[in-house]
């Protein structure tokens, strides 16, 4: 995983192979440090309102990092700052650094389109495009110039397989994605992200709109995907965080109107069994939030 050429071997199609070669050439062994993304004194404003302050986090390679905390504490904002989706909101402004593979993604000449290809995102509500299942997955590869039918077919099968959706949809790839159930749609969205071979996958409460069985499938899927990707997920569901994540960050706002801060960050097992901070314990035992 850590080396470009190792990755190349399991690349099933030339398209990704080429990307991987390119990546390996520019960033050799970047993952050896095991830290994929580092947030350094990150602060975020919406106009004059400060939504986040002093966020320091290490996101490890091939692990699931869960961000938990009460509503409105800036969890989603923090997540969205990792692929610069906050920039879609007018008046959003960032201070501090987010360093991925040694580069600050907020550097002026950092190419955001490239960043979002490397850092894919899955949203709270499944949001497939109103196109066929096939075209949903093909969307990303086509953006990056893949036109050949057989390569697209290959990418689509591979992505759907990895998202554990292939067997359910292989006979109806031309059907509208909107005919799928909510859980299937969410796995389709994951497959869509996988289709461009990201390195990091961000999930913003991916199971909030799903029933328990569909949730279970997504959780299983994430546990499997972490072998190949770095995963960061926001969740309201503490059992879920405890079940699937390796690291947990607990966010909180002290008082109304103040920015969200990290109360505690560490290995999930420690956070959930023996937290350092009293507030963490109160939150995970359900005394507030």
């Amino acid at each position: 995983m850590t080396q470009g050429n190792v990755k190349l071997e399991r690349s099933p199609y030339p398209y990704t192979g080429q990307v991987v070669i390119e990546r390996a050439a520019t960033q050799p062994n970047v993952c050896d440090a095991r830290v994929k993304i580092e947030l350094r004194n990150l602060g975020l404003y919406y106009e004059n309102f400060k939504a986040l302050e002093d966020i320091n986090l290490h996101i490890m390679c091939n692990s699931i990092t869960a961000i938990i905390g009460p509503s409105g504490c800036g969890k989603s904002t923090a997540l969205r700052s990792l692929n610069r989706m906050n920039e879609l909101i007018e008046g959003a402004r960032v201070e501090g650094k987010v360093i991925m593979d040694g580069e600050n993604i907020y550097e002026r000449d950092y190419r955001v389109v490239r960043l979002r290809k490397r850092v894919g995102m899955v949203f709270q509500r499944p949001n497939p495009f109103p196109k066929s299942i096939y075209d949903n997955i093909a969307f990303g590869p086509r953006l990056f110039g893949v036109r050949e039918r057989n390569i697209l077919d290959c990418i689509i099968e591979e992505s759907l397989r990895r998202a554990a959706l292939w067997d359910e949809v292989k006979d109806k790839l031309r059907d509208s994605a909107l005919t799928l159930s909510g859980g299937q749609q969410q796995r389709l969205c994951i497959a869509r992200v996988l289709s461009v071979q990201p390195e990091v996958i961000l999930l913003d409460e991916p199971c909030a709109a799903l029933d328990p069985i569909a949730t279970q499938r997504i959780e299983d899927l994430l546990s499997e995907l972490k072998n190949e990707y770095t995963i960061v997920t926001v969740t309201h569901n503490m059992q879920q965080a405890a079940r699937i994540s390796d690291f947990t960050a607990f966010f909180m706002i002290e008082n109304q109107g103040e920015p969200g801060r990290i109360v505690e960050f560490g290995e999930t097992s420690k956070i959930f069994t023996n937290p350092d901070d009293e507030r963490t314990e109160e939150y995970i035992t359900g005394r507030f939030g």
């Binding site: 007018e90 389109v113 290809k117 949203f123 949001n127 495009f129 969307f139 953006l143 461009v196």
Partner: protein
């Protein structure tokens, strides 16, 4: 009075008021049909559908005017619709708030310009300009199309804007989150998702262009002949009715009503088309 009685009365009053609109359109159709019957009776369908308009020898062909109406409306759409859709995309997707307000208000104001003013400007500014550029009379389909384009832009922009704004934000986020550029997002996600609404906008613009009279009348020529080029005088259904209605009697008058009937049918056709478009391509939730 008991509350229940009052409710009954209010209900009936509203029903009557609502029926009035239906009655209105029914009466218009009835009257127009009735007045155009003599033309169908005495001149006949093939006469009316011909291209020879010479009332003095009993020829009432409206094909020239029909062609003129179609040509000017389509020309107006061809020029106006792309601009209007581009404006809608710009306003909803790119413009900073302040620019959005200014440009949006400007386009709204455009909708309020009386057509006679626009026509007059067309006659005094646009026509001389075309005349100088093309070495022709300057009047005709091109001038009319340009004026119609200006007139359909506010309609098409406003409705396309609504359609684009109705596209769920999640589509945009999904596309941008995949690494799509803003342009790719617009082209491949937003416009396809807003397509039914934009089509409706264009059809409504078409309806407006077909019915427009005053501005077109001032720059179309007029001349009761097929146009030899885009810049030679011709006529449309509306302008022919406008110019001839004061001084025609008998079958000729009835033939003008038949032209009105054709306009009415075109308008209804547009509404039917909108129905079809919105039903066939269910707008996405």
């Amino acid at each position: 009075m008991k509350a229940i009685d009052r409710e009954w009365i209010i209900k009936k009053v509203l029903l009557v008021l609502a029926m009035m609109t239906v009655l209105g359109i029914a009466m218009i159709i009835f009257f127009v049909v009735k007045e155009s019957i003599p033309a169908f009776r005495q001149a006949g369908l093939s006469n009316l559908a011909s291209s020879d308009w010479s009332p003095e020898s009993g020829r009432y062909g409206m094909l020239v005017f029909f062609t003129g109406t179609l040509a000017t409306s389509l020309g107006g759409l061809l020029l106006g619709a792309p601009l209007a859709i581009a404006a809608a995309v710009f306003l909803t997707q790119m413009a900073p708030r302040r620019v959005k307000t200014v440009v949006g208000r400007g386009i709204d104001l455009l909708a309020g310009v009386p057509s006679i003013v626009l026509g007059w400007l067309g006659l005094t500014v646009l026509v001389p300009w075309i005349r100088a550029l093309t070495n022709s009379t300057g009047t005709g389909i091109l001038a009319a199309s340009i004026l119609l384009a200006i007139m359909v832009i506010p309609t098409i922009t406003a409705i396309s804007k609504d359609a684009l704004e109705a596209v769920p934000r999640s589509y945009r986020e999904a596309a941008l989150g995949m690494g799509a550029t803003r342009w790719q997002t617009i082209r491949q996600v937003l416009l396809p998702a807003a397509k039914p609404g934009i089509l409706v906008a264009v059809i409504l613009g078409m309806g407006r262009a077909i019915g427009e009279t005053m501005a077109v009348a001032l720059v179309i020529g007029p001349a009761t002949v097929f146009p030899k080029s885009l810049t030679s005088p011709t006529h449309t259904l509306t302008t022919k009715i406008l110019i001839d209605m004061g001084e025609s009697t008998g079958v000729q008058r009835s033939a003008l009503f038949a032209m009105g009937l054709v306009l009415l049918l075109l308008a209804m056709g547009m509404i039917l088309l909108i129905r079809l478009v919105t039903r066939r391509m269910q707008p996405v939730r």
